[in-house]
């Protein structure tokens, strides 16, 4: 029969003390919510926001699809609770220059717009830098074809008055969805939400989509409400053709209710305004932040891992959490549930005030290390650095440090190591051992 071979040495790494201090990158709705919840638990929070105001992407929103309140009022309330909270410190115009160390010993160098640099030593870091958009291509000609945030603004400005655009009354509006970002449901949510408001103002509204994505909480109900109010929905296969007529804009689609393709007729929707969703794009600054923080960026410049083994808000590094738009463009309700998940994770991490590694950890035998940086490059969790701490080394020359003679060698931080053994297998000098 078969037998199992297993050998593993044991070691008990020392516990690591954790102070209740957290750094949050990004002062959007997610960053602020995490800050408020953690501050209530007595955690010292620093929010590093690159802009001069808090609020982030939600500043362009005015209506919630699933809450009665006005977004701006709700956010204003949130900002004023933050300001009244002694445990929260907001740095504006902030940029993270460096992040050294590991869980419990992070050293963050933040520069603010006034040229000041300060070093923070948070126990955990939360990344909530949101996502960015750029105008969709179809909007480039500028006339009668606008983005959903501009529509949001028009709606907020007109409130109880009839809708106008550049001084002209707007009677008919067509939304075109899924031209870009076919996999993101924000545009569906936005379109249905705005369509309901437009119907209440007495406008004629049509929504043209490849697929309506109603998988966010409450959207199906909203969709039904929109249909009851008389919003027209059309499905398309081939992208609609948009053309300008004398005093309007026309959207042509082929009628998909007819099954045989040859028999389909073209339906043309003549509107005053066409709304197209903006394109979500990778934020170069977020990618730069990933480099500084040694985080892995997922596909398409967002931070979400495709790996199902990973809990939603976890990053590849222990003590660094991700939430909100930076993971994936998502609606506020979902972003907020991620914010709450992060709060729970951070609370669980900081609860005892110490972190004791529970998994196997790797350890470098300093005399054997050739300082080749192989393990440093390959560790997927950025748990290895090179330091001067060895008392002997067979490969390299010693160096002085504070009067002592110390040799450089790679060092695995037990708090950050996940115990995969990748470094052990790759080390050409066989200097690393995995301890159970």
């Amino acid at each position: 029969m078969y037998r199992t071979v297993y050998k593993s040495k044991t070691a008990a790494p020392a516990p690591i003390n954790l102070k209740p201090e957290v750094l949050i990158m990004g002062g959007g709705i997610v960053g602020m919510t995490v800050a408020r919840e953690l501050a209530r638990e007595g955690v010292q929070v620093v929010i590093a926001e690159k802009g001069e105001t808090l609020g982030g992407g939600a500043r362009d929103l005015h209506f919630f699809y699933d809450r009665p309140a006005d977004v701006q009022k709700w956010m204003g309330d949130l900002i004023s609770t933050l300001e009244g909270e002694g445990n929260i410190h907001v740095l504006k115009g902030a940029k993270l220059k460096r992040l050294d160390g590991q869980l419990g010993r992070f050293q963050a160098l933040v520069r603010t717009s006034d040229g000041m640099e300060r070093t923070l030593s948070p126990s955990a870091v939360v990344v909530a830098t949101g996502c960015i958009t750029r105008p969709a291509e179809a909007m480039s000609d500028g006339s009668r074809c606008i983005g959903s945030s501009e529509m949001e603004k028009l709606l907020a400005e007109s409130r109880d008055l009839p809708l106008t655009w550049k001084g002209q009354p707007v009677k008919t509006v067509t939304f075109i969805l899924d031209l870009t970002n076919d996999d993101i449901k924000i545009h569906t949510v936005n379109a249905i939400k705005q369509a309901v408001i437009l119907r209440e103002k007495g406008c004629q509204v049509a929504v043209v989509a490849r697929d309506l994505k109603v998988s966010a909480s409450g959207i199906e109900l909203l969709y039904r409400q929109a249909r009851e109010k008389g919003v027209l929905f059309f499905k398309y296969d081939e992208p609609p053709v948009v053309s300008h007529t004398g005093d309007g804009i026309s959207v042509e689609i082929s009628d998909m209710t007819v099954l045989r393709k040859e028999e389909r007729e073209t339906v043309s929707l003549l509107s005053d305004l066409v709304i197209i969703g903006e394109t979500f794009a990778a934020d170069p600054e977020t990618l730069e932040l990933c480099r500084v923080m040694k985080l892995r960026a997922g596909t398409g410049g967002v931070l979400m891992e495709d790996n199902p083994q990973f809990l939603r808000v976890m990053s590849n590094r222990r003590g660094i959490f991700l939430a909100g738009g930076c993971r994936f463009p998502q609606v506020i309700t979902e972003s907020l549930s991620e914010a709450h998940a992060v709060v729970q994770e951070v609370k669980a991490l900081l609860r005892g005030g110490v972190y004791t590694p529970v998994n196997p950890v790797a350890e470098v035998d300093p005399p054997k290390c050739a300082v080749c940086y192989t393990c440093v490059r390959l560790c997927p969790h950025a748990a290895i650095g090179v330091e001067r701490y060895g008392d002997r080394n067979i490969y390299s020359a010693p160096a002085e440090k504070n009067g002592d003679t110390l040799w450089g060698a790679a060092r695995v931080d037990p708090a950050a190591c996940f115990g995969c053994g990748i470094c052990v297998a790759e080390c050409p000098a066989r200097a690393i051992t995995l301890y159970q």
């Binding site: 790996n307 390959l378 053994g421 990748i422």
Partner: protein, 137 residues
């Protein structure tokens, strides 16, 4: 030749291969007679040398049970493994060993049946291939 029972060394990732093995055991599925199992925390822990050493010291075939790609608990372990297996195969070709003697098999935790089927197939394949001529033992 009829009595030749190939020896298989199977490295099992603790995240997928090992639970699959447990499942195969619970279901009392068939396993090759001459099998040695080596649990590893992650398939990324397996060195090129381990694979070659196993062949050198008596294995007729080496199998690595790893997680599916993009499914590694440690993000990149199975990707590192893939490149090492590729390298080991290059060396094997150079010294005249058949590439079939070394293979990665991706399993999920619940793939007990696949686990046993694959090993049984491997044993059949190795039986046809004959003993590993590279072993020193």
């Amino acid at each position: 030749m009829s009595t030749f029972e190939p020896k298989i060394v199977a490295f099992c990732c603790e995240q997928s291969g090992l639970p699959a093995l447990e499942m195969a055991k619970t279901l009392k599925l068939k396993m090759p007679d001459n099998l040695e199992l080596v649990p590893v925390p992650c398939s990324g822990r397996i060195e090129t040398l381990y694979l070659l050493k196993a062949l050198e010291s008596g294995a007729d075939g080496v199998v690595v049970f790893a997680c599916y790609e993009e499914n590694c608990q440690y993000l990149q372990g199975n990707v590192r493994l893939k490149s090492r297996v590729g390298y080991a195969k290059q060396i094997m070709t150079k010294i005249g060993l058949e590439g079939e003697r070394l293979e990665i098999f991706h399993v999920a935790t619940n793939s007990g049946v696949k686990f046993s089927e694959f090993l049984m197939q491997k044993a059949d394949q190795l039986r046809l291939l004959g003993p590993n001529l590279g072993k020193i033992a």
